[in-house]
Amino acid sequence: MNTVPQIFRILPEVILTVTGVLIMLIEPVMPKSASRKSMGWLSVLGTLAALGASLWQYQLPVGTAYFGTIQTDAFSVFFHVLICSIVLVSLLAAISSAPREMDTLGEYFGLVVFGAVGMLFMTSAVELLVVFIGLEISSISTYILAAFRRKSAKGPEAGIKYLLLGSFATAFFLYGIAMLFGATGTTVISQIADRLGSSHLPLLAVAGLGMILIGIGFKVSAAPFQVWTPDVYEGSPSPVVGLMSTAPKAAAFAVLLRILYGALPTLHEYWVPLLWWLSALSMTVGNLGALRQRNVKRLLAYSSIAHAGYLLAAFTALSADGIAAASFYAVTYAAMNVGIFAVVSYAGGYDDRLTLIEDYRGLAYRAPVMGGAMAFFLMSLIGIPFTGGFFGKFYVFSAALHSGFLWLGIIGLLNSGIGAFYYLRLIAALYSKPSEAAPLNQIPRPSFALLLGVFLTVAATLILGIVPGRVLAMAKAGAATFYSVSASK
């Protein structure tokens, strides 16, 4: 039955791996004085090829490969395309903002590409071992990237915080997998569902569920597992933050969807209330934390916590619509967040020239296009109609309310009201009179790569806000491919 060659099922991953290896091989033999930015363009090419391969996979018949560990379906293609696009933009942001003379730039691009491989594996894996390996590949790459400004004081601190706490959470995740394995005797997601469905509820599986939620909760920075987020975002280079606040999260959400809806639908009575709380708590903590924040990167970190909360709200819906809403929100969130960090990495530069909100005063006059784009992303984060942020939230909360979670909807909308406060503060700063001694004057002209990246994200945010139909249809197709096998409520 499996007529498709197995390698086709992992073609994007293979392409990216080859790209990464090429970078690692070419970079050391390049003359010492040569700029490593060419490696960046190489990785952009590789990512584009992987993006194309992912789209190509869409027309393959749904099926598994490599002993039933990898599955390509509309869902995996959806997240593949999303992750490749995020990586693309963050590569462009890195190419434009990294200092020319940086000697470790080649490794940087290699790590981004390798990390992407891990994330892609997470979204197409239907077996927990591969999920775990994918998670670790992406995590370890991002640990290094977080610590990339190794000469500064904050860089290694961000790295070690991320690494220690991340491994700590991974251990819980792993323990959860072990418990699921213990309860069912298998690590294949669909078999877990079958065996759980036929038996009484083994307590072990419930414990495993809790442990897995801890691990994933950490990765997506959902409260109460969010503590690391602001510190790590502050210490990491901005292009890296743009990447790690979106792509690994999208992959982790995909894993969570696969596990909850694919493996544990019978336990929904346990996990729906848990996700309700995680969601409500994340939104509240994120928004309240951001309210008084003066550091822009930390502010965006708290905002990303809040957005993780909005996204988790869709998980409670227990329907294909909920999954589609979550997938769609992952896209919109990624578009605006990777976009805003592209602007931040341009304005703030690799070394964070600008840190506080006050530093951004008048950016829109110094650099009208970039400042305007940043204001636009902020408006999308607030959720103004005709931006992706509005529709993302709209779908998520209409899915949650459709399942009867009125209070979650109310909490969510109240929170998005609070959110307007601090986003507006930043918008107002962008358009207010610049102070005289602003470090703004060091801002260079935006490079082609940056303009391209920002243009892509602005366009994506607009398209998602005005004609979201296509993306939503794809998200629904993704939801349908595996919701049909799970139990109904």
Partner: protein
């Protein structure tokens, strides 16, 4: 109807104007910028006028589907526009008054920096406002709804270098968000109960289920009311409108008097099928409206800033409209929307002309005696003042009186509403004539050659405004004078054209209509209006020293009014400050001490004592973070084991 009306052109043309001016306007000469902006509003106006002339031949509601927008999810929504009588009235107001205000702005803003930006925003506003009223489904309406809020934010904060303007813009935006939150929730509930957001489907479903009374319908209606109170500046969300006067005066006229603030009225009228099923929601509306009308009028009495008086008067007049909605007199509310658009736009523009004349001064205490120097402004403003005061035969008389009459005959408690409305009419007349006397009569109190940071250029004495400003004033004055004849009720030998026009879609067949002594009531309200005038005449013309004495005598009341009942401060204290406190201290406490406690519990038995813990009471510490993680993990696991089911689902 065979040929298409091309409704989509109506909003798209202003949007094109916005794009052109917004993208390249900076480099264009001012004349070109204003030409673009004017053409971008003139074309929709002409189109609307054209539609109006063969309106009777159009089958209503006329729906124009431009293609599907969202397919999938629990519902689907299209880019669909709709035209019916209600939309028609709103379109005429928006494009007609909007065009006049655009013309006026070319004069008023002539010396401002950021000329192109202003007109770009103004066109953007037109786009969203037209989308709002043309939409055929709630989602598209909401896009317009939020969009006008955004445009209003941009325009209020137009003098962005002024801190107060930026603050006011933000306040307006955030308060409006609270209202939007209600609208959104109502929409979500509609999706889950009606399975659609299209007007046609929703109202069809409601009509099919006559057994739906109250219950979830009331919940939806109450959320819609929350939305309306935000946009139409009603209690408890009215606080943003007075501050919004920081924006340029044409903005106040267009957005904060004639169009945007009436969006809430439009929305309730549009969804009246839902409100008709919920007497509770209707009573709530009526009470909110009456209370706001009275409350805002009392504040208006003591304001000294000319624009703020008008702002509170707008809030108060909107209260009348909401009250009319609350007694299910939807077409009366719309009639008042129409006349109010005329006379309030007129008043604002005339006030702008006054401000222009005295080089940016807005405080009425330093005006006075201006009538000879700016005669056109004086005459036109007089028309506006008389119209709003409800003196026949000017426009405000008929529409206001219609509302009072409808309140009077409404079966449940209408007499009280009517009385509050009557008292408000007295107050309105009083504070409007107060404004009139303080501005135009008495001796001139203008200090010589005052330079303000946004002065309007001419510093050579007080002068009448140019023609581009006075012609719109004159047109609006004519409309304010005769606009009322559109709706002279049958009780006064009229034909109530507007009522019959809107009747087919707005008046429910089952509406209980009482009887009342219409002429007597009208006579009473005229008397009340004249009494207000007389009192203002006495206090501010014959004995101008008296108000100050009275203010001293009743200083407590005066202070209460002057400080607007301290509502802003109360909100600040009750809502904003606690939020910030939570953000600042509680969260910090959680992260600082809470985590330390987590780590502390683990560390408690070890060699490290409490002292060491105290030393480490600061965050950024990996171990305390890990403690927090572990603590969260423990709680989560415990909760998982107890496995409480989803009993907070309301399904």
């Amino acid at each position: 109807m065979t040929d298409s009306l091309h409704l989509w052109l109506i909003p798209i043309v202003p949007f094109a104007g916005f794009l052109v001016n917004g993208l390249v306007g900076r480099k264009l000469p001012r004349a070109l910028v204003s030409a673009i902006a004017l053409i971008a509003t003139l074309i929709p106006f002409l189109q609307v006028a054209n539609i109006w002339f063969h309106f009777s031949s159009i089958s209503k509601p006329y729906v124009e589907n431009l293609g599907s927008w969202i397919v999938g999810g629990a519902f689907h929504a299209d880019f669909a526009l709709q035209l019916d009588q209600l939309t028609m009235i709103m379109l005429l107001i928006i494009t007609g008054v909007g065009f006049l205000i655009h013309v006026y702005s070319t004069g008023y803003m002539a010396h401002e920096d950021g000329y192109w930006r202003f007109f770009a925003y103004l066109n953007l506003f037109m786009f969203f406002m037209l989308t709002l009223v043309l939409a055929e489904n709630f989602l598209l309406m909401f896009v317009g709804w939020e969009g006008v809020g955004l445009a209003s934010y941009l325009l209020i904060g137009f003098y962005f270098l002024r801190d107060s303007a930026a603050q006011a813009g933000k306040k307006a935006f955030v308060v409006n968000r609270i209202g939007d939150f209600g609208f959104l929730l109502a929409m979500f509930l509609m999706i889950s109960h009606f399975g659609s957001l299209s007007y046609h489907d929703v109202f069809a479903v409601v009509a099919q289920h006559p057994e739906w009374q109250g219950g979830f319908i009331t919940v939806i209606a109450l959320f819609l009311i929350l939305g309306a109170t935000g946009k139409s500046a009603q209690i408890p969300l009215y606080i943003w409108l007075p501050d919004a006067m920081e924006g340029p005066t044409p903005v106040s006229a267009l957005i904060h008097a004639a169009t945007m603030v009436t969006a809430g009225i439009y929305m309730v009228a549009r969804t009246h099928a839902i409100f008709d099923r919920s007497p509770f929601a209707l009573s709530t509306l009526a009470i909110i409206g009456a209370a706001t009308a009275f409350f805002a009028a009392t504040i208006g009495i003591v304001q000294t800033d000319i624009k703020r008086v008008l702002a509170y008067s707008t809030v108060s007049q909107l209260g009348y409209m909401v009250m009319a909605l609350g007694v299910a007199a939807y077409s009366s509310a719309l009639f008042h929307v129409l006349t109010h658009a005329f006379f309030k736009a007129l008043l604002f523009l005339a006030a702008g002309s006054v401000i222009h004349a005295v080089s940016g001064e807005q405080d009425m205490r330093v005006m006075g005696g201006l009538w000879k120097k700016i005669p056109i402004t004086f005459v036109t403003m007089t028309v506006g003042v008389v119209a709003i005061s409800g003196i026949p035969p000017f426009a405000g008389f008929f529409s206001k009186d219609e509302i009072l009459y409808q309140a009077f005959i409404s079966p449940n408690g209408g007499k009280i509403l009517w009385f509050v409305g009557l008292v408000t009419a007295f107050l309105t007349s009083f504070y409007m004539f107060r404004l009139w006397y303080m501005t135009f009569f008495g001796e001139n109190r203008t200090p010589e050659a005052k330079h303000d940071d946004h002065s309007h250029g001419h510093s050579h004495g007080i002068h009448e405004s140019p023609l581009v400003m006075t012609v719109p004033l004159m047109i609006l004055a004519v409309l304010s004078a005769i606009g009322g004849f559109l709706g002279v009720p049958e009780g006064m030998w009229g034909h109530n054209e507007i009522g019959h026009f809107l009747g087919p879609i707005l008046d429910p067949a089952s509406r209980v209509v009482g009887e009342g002594p219409e002429l007597a009531l009208a006579g009473l309200s005229v008397l009340v209006g004249l009494a207000g005038w007389a009192m203002a005449h006495y206090f501010y013309y014959m004995k101008p020293e008296l108000p100050a004495k009275l203010a001293q005598q009743f200083s407590a009341v005066h202070r209460l009014l002057e400080n607007k009942y301290w509502i802003d401060e109360i909100y600040e204290g009750l809502i904003v400050t606690p939020l910030l406190l939570v953000s600042r201290y509680v969260l910090k406490g959680l992260i600082d001490t809470g985590i330390i406690d987590g780590a502390g519990m683990a560390a408690g038995g070890t060699a490290q004592g409490l002292g060491a813990l105290v030393q480490r009471v600061q965050s950024g510490n990996i171990r305390s973070y890990a403690g927090w993680l572990a603590f969260g993990a423990a709680v989560l696991l415990v909760v998982t084991y107890f496995g409480f089911t989803a009993h907070f689902s309301v399904r």
